[in-house]
Each structure stands twice: as C-alpha cells, then as structure tokens.
C-alpha cells in the first residue's frame, strides 16, 4: 500500500469485496430499485417492541442471511467494522455483541459504509487481517424519533428535505482474490467541511461540499478525471444536493457527464413523497450492495467511484446554533 498525495491510499494487492447483501423496508422495496432488492420486510417494526430494536434485528438478519447463504463461518472473520446513525452506535454495538468477534465501531453518519470499507481494505492490505465484515444501517422511524419529532406528530416536510432509508447493507472484504468480485483499488479519506448550513432538513446542501472536496482531492492525488470511470455514485445527497455537487465541481472546471448517480436520488421515485430522495447510513449501503455491487459482478460496470456523504451534527449542536459539518469518504472499485 502506498499513499498518493494528501488523502488517497492505493492498495498494493487487490482487496476483494467477496459478498454483499442488502435488506430493506417495504417503502424501499416499492421504489425504482425494486427488482434489485431481493430481501425486504413488510412490517416496519420487524416484530419488535421498539424501532431501535427493529433496526438492530434488521442488521442482525442481514448479516446472518449473508453468512448463511454463502456458508461463511463467523469465526473465519477477523474483524467487524460497522456504523449507523443512532446515538452511541447502538445498532452496530448490540449486533457486535451477538456476533462475538472483534469490533470497531465507526461513526461518520451516512458515510459509514465507505468509511468501514476503506478502513477494512487498508487493514487487509496492511497484512493485519484476512477477512473483515462491514456494515451500515438506518431505520426511518428510529431516526425520526431521535433526530426530529414523534411519528404521530403532525408536521409538514420541507420541499428540500429527505427521507431516511430503512435498510441494512453488509459486505465481506477479503484478502483472497476472486475473479468475478469487485476489488477496492484506492480509498480516499475526506476532510470535515462546514459551509454554514443550519437547516437540519437541508442535508443535501450541507453534504454536497464535502463530497466535492473529497472527489477533487482524489482526482488531484490520482491524476484521474471523471471520464475515467464508468460510474460515479454519491451516497445520499438527494436531487438538490447532487445538483449542488455538480455545480461546485463545474466551478472548479471538473465536468461530470452522464456517468453520475446519487444513491439517495435513485432509491425513491417521485410518487413516494420523499422530496429530494433518500438519506441515512442505510441508503448508500443498500444501493451499493444490491445495485452497484451486482452490476459490477456482472461486469456491466468496470470502474466505479463510491462517495458516501455524512452530516455530522447532533440535535444538541443544532439547537445551540452550530452549523452542520459534513464528511465524505471515497472508495474506488474495479470489477
């Protein structure tokens, strides 16, 4: 492994994402990506007493389904790296307790999936681990009651707001090379940026500068450009956020053509009343696991950049008048 420029790390040997699995809620299942989401659950509470418990069970189910379907022994996994958006990372922490393998909890809000994949690949390429489990998840109702209002409280959503995705995505990152599986080639850890956005509903505007900052550093470090990639996917900027993202890049004379998607924008359609689209740690995790990963496995996509973006505020900092800091971590994948 070597460091390129300021923020980018290049793997010396290919690090493979051998398996990826997604589990989503019914609203996501009814969205445009319906045929890619094979596993879903109808009841939002997943048969549990609270939404926090439901999120936990969803994550646990996603992981055990993946392990079972691919006959992976949990003891062969060296490390579990995971994150979610609930306080104290309760979902990942509690699931780690059930899995009984070493655990590193990471918090970068909705950027958790790329952060854990990036950390996993550096650990593997550094020769410390052979097989790492990564995960990210979020649950609409649990996020709503933590970050906003009670569910039965009558309020109107802003036209620029986003909808937290109910879903869990998990992946196995391996040292062993496998022909059909996508490999992580380079990773770029982002800087935290703060552009003064105060409005909690306008996540896209808060996070777009972070994504732009990371991708520009990455292009500088690796001397590549957008047209070198089949697909550039941002995490959950939503429609507004991705427009801003393109604008910022255009101002810096980087033009992104049609090879750009935003996971948040594509997970819901216009009739689902999600305004700008999806958000949450689960958003990029499930779109990557169910859609991008599978397309790469089928060799329909060869070179992909995935930048999940996270807004790092808490309700307390927001009430104290602080703006929303944001971060974006990038991984470069090659089929």
């Amino acid at each position: 492994m070597k460091k390129l420029g300021k923020q980018t790390y290049e793997m010396a040997n290919p690090v493979t994402i051998s398996y990826a699995h997604a589990l989503v809620g019914s609203k996501e299942k009814n969205g445009p990506l319906s045929k890619y989401f094979k596993d879903y659950f109808e009841d939002d509470t997943f048969g549990e007493k609270s939404f926090e418990k439901a999120e936990r069970k969803m994550l646990k189910t996603a992981i055990s389904d993946m392990l079972l379907a691919n006959k992976i022994n949990i003891d062969d996994i060296d490390l579990y790296i995971g994150g979610d958006i609930l306080n104290q990372l309760v979902s990942s922490n509690f699931v780690a307790e059930e899995l009984q393998i070493p655990f590193v909890g990471v918090y970068s809000a909705c950027s958790s999936v790329t952060e854990s994949l990036a950390l996993a690949s550096t650990l593997i390429d550094g020769g410390f681990c052979n097989r790492i489990l990564c995960s990210a998840c979020s649950h609409f109702s649990a996020a709503e009651r933590q970050y906003r209002f009670p569910l039965e409280f009558g309020n109107q959503r802003q036209a620029y707001s986003q909808w937290t995705v109910t879903g869990a995505g998990c992946m196995i990152v391996d040292k062993k090379e496998s022909q059909n599986c996508p490999k992580i080639k380079r990773v770029c850890f982002g800087k935290v940026v703060d552009y003064g956005v105060l409005d909690l509903a306008n996540m896209g505007a808060a996070m777009a500068p972070a994504a732009a900052d990371t991708i520009m550093e990455f292009f500088k470090d690796t001397k590549t450009q957008p047209s070198d990639y089949d697909l550039i996917a941002t995490g959950d900027l939503g429609k507004l956020g991705s427009d801003i993202f393109r604008d910022i890049l255009a101002q810096n004379s980087i033009v992104i053509e049609n090879n750009y998607i935003d996971c948040g924008h594509m997970i819901f359609n216009g009739n689902q009343e999600c305004m700008q689209g999806g958000s949450g740690a689960g958003c990029s995790a499930v779109v990557f696991s169910a859609y991008i990963y599978q397309k790469m496995k089928q060799k329909k996509l060869k070179k992909v950049l995935l930048l999940a973006t996270g807004a790092l505020m808490s309700t307390t900092t927001n009430q104290q008048g602080d703006a929303i800091p944001a971060v974006s971590h990038l991984i470069e994948l090659e089929a």
Binding site: F149, E152, F153, G154, Q156, G196, N202, A323
Partner: protein
C-alpha cells in the same frame, strides 16, 4: 476568500437553488383546514348549547376546546392526525388541536422508554414551550393588572 464570506455566498446560492414549497396552495389548505376545525368547534358549541341552554358562553367555549382536544388525541392514537396535519399545515397546529396532538404524539412515542421517564418526562417535549410561555405571560398580565388596580 475567508470562510465566513465563502459560507455566506454558499448559503445564498443554496437558498436560490432550494425548491420552494408551493405557497399559494399551502396557504389555501391551511385556510380550509383551520376554518373547518373552527366550524366544527362552533357546531359542537351549538349542540352543547341546545342541550344546556342556561350554560354561560365561557363554559361552552371550554367544552368546545375539550371536545376538539379529545377528538384530536383519539385521531392521533389511531394514526390519522398526522395525515391530516400533512395536508393542513398551520391549519392543524394553530388551533388547539395542534397542542393536543403534540402532547399525545409524545406520550405515544416515548412510552417505550417507560411510564416515568418516557411518558412522564417527555410528554411536553414539543408542547412544553406553549405551556411555559403561556403560564408566564398570564402571570405577567395578572401581576400588572393587580398593580394597576391598586391605584
């Protein structure tokens, strides 16, 4: 370019880019919803008056408030009120129904944290400001009035 200037420019740009909620239709819906709730209250008042013709207007008004509050809480419990509120906006939260909904929704939501620290402590998470401010203003008005009446 320093950071505060950059942020200021960015926020202005975001403001321009952000889609606006269609305000004319929102205004219209708030008007309709608010008007309907008040009309409904008026109807309840008339019904009460027809049963108890001797009741004074203040008591009738209190009964109207209580009926609207009770109905709102029941609608909230069945998960209907938030759908109405999504349509009505200010039309549902400016009448007393908004106050009742905020208390009931918190009680229902936070009961998972138990009856003491969940329901008991968090019931006024949203409605608290209204009660705290309301009681403070009323005390202020009362004290001012009391002092004036001394002279």
């Amino acid at each position: 370019m320093n950071k505060s200037q950059r942020n200021q420019d960015y926020l202005m740009y975001v403001e321009k880019q952000s889609p606006k909620s269609p305000w004319l239709s929102s205004l219209f819906r708030a008007f309709i919803m608010g008007g309907t709730i008040c009309c409904f209250g008026q109807m309840i008042g008339d019904v009460i008056k027809s049963f108890f013709p001797t009741m004074d207007l203040l008591t009738v008004g209190a009964w109207v408030n209580i009926s609207v509050i009770a109905l709102t809480i029941i609608l909230t419990a069945f998960g209907i009120f938030d759908v109405l509120a999504k349509y009505g906006g200010a039309g549902t939260f400016i009448p007393i129904s908004g106050f009742a909904n905020s208390i009931a929704s918190c009680a229902i939501e936070y009961k998972k944290e138990g009856l003491v620290f969940g329901v008991g402590a968090k019931m006024f998470y949203v409605a608290g400001p209204v009660i705290v401010n309301g009681v403070s203003y009323s005390m202020l008005v009362g004290i001012i009035y009391f002092i004036i009446s001394l002279f």
